[in-house]
Symmetry: D2
Subunit: 447 residues, 4 copies
């Protein structure tokens, strides 16, 4: 059902978000969707790029808006004439729009770390929110048709029969990635993510097996891949953000340990986290979580008698990241030496060191032998023949199928910036002799 | 003390924030300053403009950066030659920078409403954080000199002897206002706040009584005043944001009532708010508060047995604003009629109606008879004579000294969008007969 | 006839210009339209704002694009249901688009000054190009229908029966003004012209007597009026640009004088200007003129034996503007004194002084007693009632019906920056005693 | 000598151009520099990207401004302490600024094509303008010192002893390239050229052999190289622009032929071009040329009795490009077939066909065996060791030392869009059978 008059939301990235269907407005107004206002899109990245404070709510309406524009383009330029002609059937619009809007619904606070500690899975939770009869989301979707919640869930699960709809929402160049690159670039103030959305949308077209790009738009697609590559290198993999995730991980880990060992008094017990600490939670418990839940408990833990919990909570709230150094398979054998020095300096290595790698595949051609073969990006010539992107673009070719990133060892800042008294102690001087140009080195083997 | 090498923070509005003094870096790294990351700059406005999710942290470093640029300009172009010549003495730089960075330190979550309910005062708290020996802020400031904390506090309190420094931080065209206009415009996605900062900075100059503007830059200053006027009209006074503040106000009010009447069970008691509910709080209590503290308790209150608390908490978390209508002194007498209808519909008027006005003085010339006379904006001619802005600019003249805004009556959305069953009940039809073109009218007196 | 596939032109202001009708593409490809590439939009303003080098071609396609977007909005939201219902009849689209594209076709080089010297009229010439059978424009338009050229001409002449179409192209807030404000702001690098086009287009709507604006979009319209006011004050009326127009005016005036007095040798005779010098020109002559025609002759005139012609040509080509001073009705009596001093310094006042005023009416409500009553800007309430803009907006009210600008006296820069030898001659010292803070003053009457 | 007060020029790319030295202001005010206002930066590219109408004047002041910012950074962060320490000596500032401002002084209209036909050389002419005693530029430079003109010339000629100054103005990442990428991107409205200038400037630093980049700024430099690559692919090598250059080339070629064969009547003789047609020109002749000179003669030639001259002049003025098709070494043998068909259709192949390749080396490491070895881009580690960019960046590695572009055959549009009457003639059908997906193919060999 269409709204009597289109509604718009002001958006800094897309200028306006246009809402024309009542179901979209009703979905936005559910408690489950409004919760996304209280969950940051980039988590710990805002500790490095202070502007990156935007929520999953703003991203979600952005993904919706890009999907809406894709549907508009497809309907104007490539409307289906006969079933099976591989063109766009506008009856698919509503399921595409809902899937776009709702694809991140299951994200909790600090998703990556939270999932790791409490063994949750935001994708499964998204599916559950869509299909569980107790949610408002499910009620609103059912007004479209009884099977509609399952259909939307199947788009997100990539089992929906129409590959065009699936690829709009998840592929190597989908509405999700396009919105987050633009939005994260806008909010961080970096410019690397600023590819030419309008031109990409112009050259996108439906075909039998999904979505392709007109070959004369090759450079626009190439530019998007390069932007994505650079955002990963420069923003998403930033060592300081990863360090803050390490702190958070250790903090939650310590809280779990203390809870399990009965060392949480009533007043410090994180009521809303108890179901997760006891590994006995349901959707209702999950939907009560947001960024503020965690930081409120961290604030309480600052006064906890356990030194480690108290210290790590403060490091996280007060943004005191660990430092880190890059290592390679060749220098990995030096880490135990460093760990020993850190322990000697009085830090428990379980909570004060970490290894963390950050690798991403910026783009991959289809590889049937891969665990999760990816839908490759196809360029369509005037006569309909297809060419895979990396065969045409030397830039994309250079980064295709090669994961990039680095592996780092994290340790307390105090090891390299000790108190004045400690400055000339051999322990710290020795530690620093392992670090050179941000790389781990063997102090014995240097000229 | 200068840093060995300048540090920069990436900022979406100013591109980079340049930090050259160690004291600034140390201040940023205090727990009191980092807390500002967890307090939204615009509070309820993000319910209307979803992009407005930026924190007081980002604003504070922005105010610092603008102040730094002003100091650079003054030092390059107007360095003092002899004491008392009215030019810029760069020894004032450090106190100006610190005051700029720290001016918002005392803001708590949802300041306006919180202060109203709990009788706190963010300006007094800012002063206290600067001058209390228990804060990290105070420790860092004292490293400059023992009197330095008091000096910074006196800039914020407008009693510092150098009027140039005071006016940089607080006047009708200061670094604070300039940053928030630009930043709020950037994040909301509206363009009204986008005045020409570079040009304003170019035409700003120190003189004996403070800061003036070269007369050939009149239009840049005029444009700033108009931008400010439009941001108030369009963003800050938006009825939906004010409505969400009304909901919040009633919610906290109800919580206080229940607490005072012993109707908060242990598990729903908001531990961190107790000192405020009991009106017996200190700085340590205050510095534990942030946006997440409030929303965490609201989440818990959703399960509270009190219907009103539970309902208002949900309205706030799920963004279900009241509706509103504009009234004038002439139509104000109709409000009791509406209130009665609302009560008949089953809503407690104390918690489900409100009157709220929103008036701002966009600019004012100096008026010694005013309670708080404002520093007027002075334009300086080539020969040094001064002219007050509104005497030269017809645009500014038009809005000088005239407060603008409106007065609104707020009520539950259910009164105009009732359930289908109620749709034709006379109660609701009668209620709606009072509303016309967003104005309150007397249904008896219409033609 | 629609193109088989939409064509786009990349545009810095609108991102893309979308061409969907064959007639639009054919019009763009005519010699008469391509000539606009060789005529600057802002003439002498590029001497002040060096980025302002854009042509009338880019502006014309921009006006077309805004008109196209207005038609799209009207057709989507306000399509006519029954004749005479005051809504949008999309059959009008094609005449609106053509009139938008072609409205500036008759502009020659440095229009304002050229028209003044040679008594041409760009509006009449636009009409002639549309309706004369010898132009390509006319041929292309006739392919739509035999009467179509006249229809397009009548839109530009404001006699077309549908007021919606007329007001799209010429009213106080039309596609022409909207494009030039945005484009001139973009190219000059000033930000004053950057109003919110998307929002204006959203609140624009057709009604019986033309085009109105939804009242909830009042601030967007207000912002446009203020932007326009500021662009006039800051850019279009800039004294240096006006000075360069004075130089140009005197230069062409001198050339005419010399030609009429037989003092142009064959090699210096400006062949393409001869029909104009002889006041005996036709459309073919006119369509050969562009900015390069004038500057090519000026280059040749640098070697002309007439000192004045030669000097003024150099001043124009080498950008050596006259200086100027503001005067008022009260100080106008002093101008003869200055003129005498200038003559004493060796300059012929006919060619080396000028008086020039620059007044604009930023906005006016309808005034039937005016020579050219303007279509006022109407805001439409929810119930269809109309309110004139200046009655609602205090900012617009402040500048309605008041012309703003100044009157200036122009003179050679040498009068205030003479050679070193002349620096202390009483003549120059006396001249300068008349100038104070950019105002003309009576040196006798100063304290 | 410094100006008493800094002057600024408003610039759309850099916001303001800051002029602090009198010599810079005086240079800008010379006739030779002002001539650059009348020469387009991108020549025929404005036929493809209509916004690209900016002149070499705006680019030149932009290069100056970037150089000024580099000098400021170097002086603030890397001032020389002892001669030969490889840091920045601010006495070099003035020669760097002048060379930056003046590096394009010798460009004439449509440089590339003009040089090809008339055998001029803009670099040699730049040198001549700097060093010839008859120019104003030379006079102004000599006020700095008698040798100063030669010094500035030697920077542009790359023989100046300080490699830092030379590399600022000409290297693979210099102020010239940085300004034109940003400015061309701004004016065309493409976004490919929008790299992060501020960040590049931050990581640039002087060292003994010139200019290096801090290794933590690698991604900013990488992004610049990718931007440059994309601007070449998308803008500078656009087939339509190259086609318009082909038309221009043939047009000037024809004019020369006719002049040499005595077929130019007095009234059509291009007075200002005669010295070039006769290959007997001097600097004075050259400095009278600008874009308008050429188009004025083209306008006159439209009426020339020679059909080819007249037709080509119209094609250029009215923007009627040739069409083109890509060929490879393998399909090159087919071109004579096409040429024959074109001749059969009535076109003189000498003037109506062309082969044109467009290859660029986006980046190259130093190769001593190359004819013109390039200064490679060096990254400097914390400990001062250098790494060449392409060894660190896989993206840059992918395009290093590989020229990219294509080779095209140009022919009249009429061959593929003939009149309706000709549409089914075998000649045109045969011609079209050679073209497929923008490639030249052998119609015999297709399946």
């Amino acid at each position: 059902m269409m709204l009597p008059r289109e509604k718009v939301l002001r958006d800094p990235v897309h200028n306006y978000i246009h809402v024309t269907h009542k179901v979209i407005l009703d979905l936005i107004n559910t408690p489950e969707f409004q919760r996304l206002r209280r969950v940051k899109q980039l988590g710990a990245s805002s500790f490095t790029f202070h502007g990156a404070e935007h929520s999953r709510f703003t991203h979600s309406v952005g993904v919706y808006e890009i999907t809406r524009q894709i549907c508009d383009n497809f309907q104007r330029n490539y409307p289906t004439q006969t079933p099976g002609d591989g063109l766009w059937d506008d009856h698919e619009r509503i399921v595409a729009l809902c899937a776009a809007l709702l694809h991140d619904l299951g994200h909790g606070p600090e998703s990556h770390t939270f999932e790791h500690i409490f063994d949750t899975d935001h994708e499964a939770i998204t599916q559950a929110i869509l299909t569980s009869p107790e949610t408002q989301i499910n009620k609103v979707l059912k007004e479209v048709s009884p099977e509609f919640p399952e259909e939307v869930a199947s788009v997100i699960g990539k089992t929906y029969p129409n590959p065009q709809v699936v690829q709009m929402i998840s592929s190597q160049i989908d509405a999700d990635r396009m919105d987050y690159l633009l939005r994260d670039a806008y909010n961080t103030g970096t410019k690397y993510g600023m590819f030419d959305l309008t031109r990409i949308l112009r050259v996108m077209r439906p075909y039998k097996s999904g979505i392709a790009f007109q070959s004369d738009g090759m450079h626009a697609v190439e530019d998007y891949i390069v932007c994505r590559f650079q955002m990963y290198q420069q923003v998403y993999f930033h060592p300081v953000s990863r360090s803050m995730e390490v702190v958070l991980n250790h903090l939650l880990h310590r809280a779990k340990y203390l809870y399990e060992h009965g060392q949480m008094s009533a007043s410090q017990t994180p009521t809303l986290l108890v179901p997760f600490l006891e590994n006995n939670w349901d959707l209702t418990n999950y939907l009560k979580l947001d960024d503020g839940t965690l930081t409120t408990y961290f604030t309480l833990w600052r006064d906890h008698p356990d030194d480690i919990l108290c210290d790590l909570a403060s490091r996280f709230l007060d943004r005191r990241p660990f430092k880190s150094v890059r290592f390679t398979p060749e220098t990995r054998y030096l880490i135990p030496d460093l760990t020993k020095l850190i322990e000697e300096a009085g830090f428990n290595p379980e909570y004060y060191t970490a290894i963390n790698d950050s690798y991403d595949l910026p783009y991959d051609a289809y590889d049937p032998s891969s665990k999760e073969p990816k839908t490759q990006i196809e360029l369509m010539e005037q006569d309909g023949t297809l060419e895979e992107l990396s065969t045409v673009s030397p830039l994309v070719g250079a980064i295709t199928g090669k994961s990039t990133g680095d592996e780092r060892f994290f340790f307390p800042r105090e090891m390299i910036h000790p108190d004045e008294l400690q400055l000339f102690e051999p322990l710290y001087q020795k530690f620093q002799s392992y670090l050179h140009n941000d790389n781990l080195i063997d102090p014995q083997n240097q000229l």
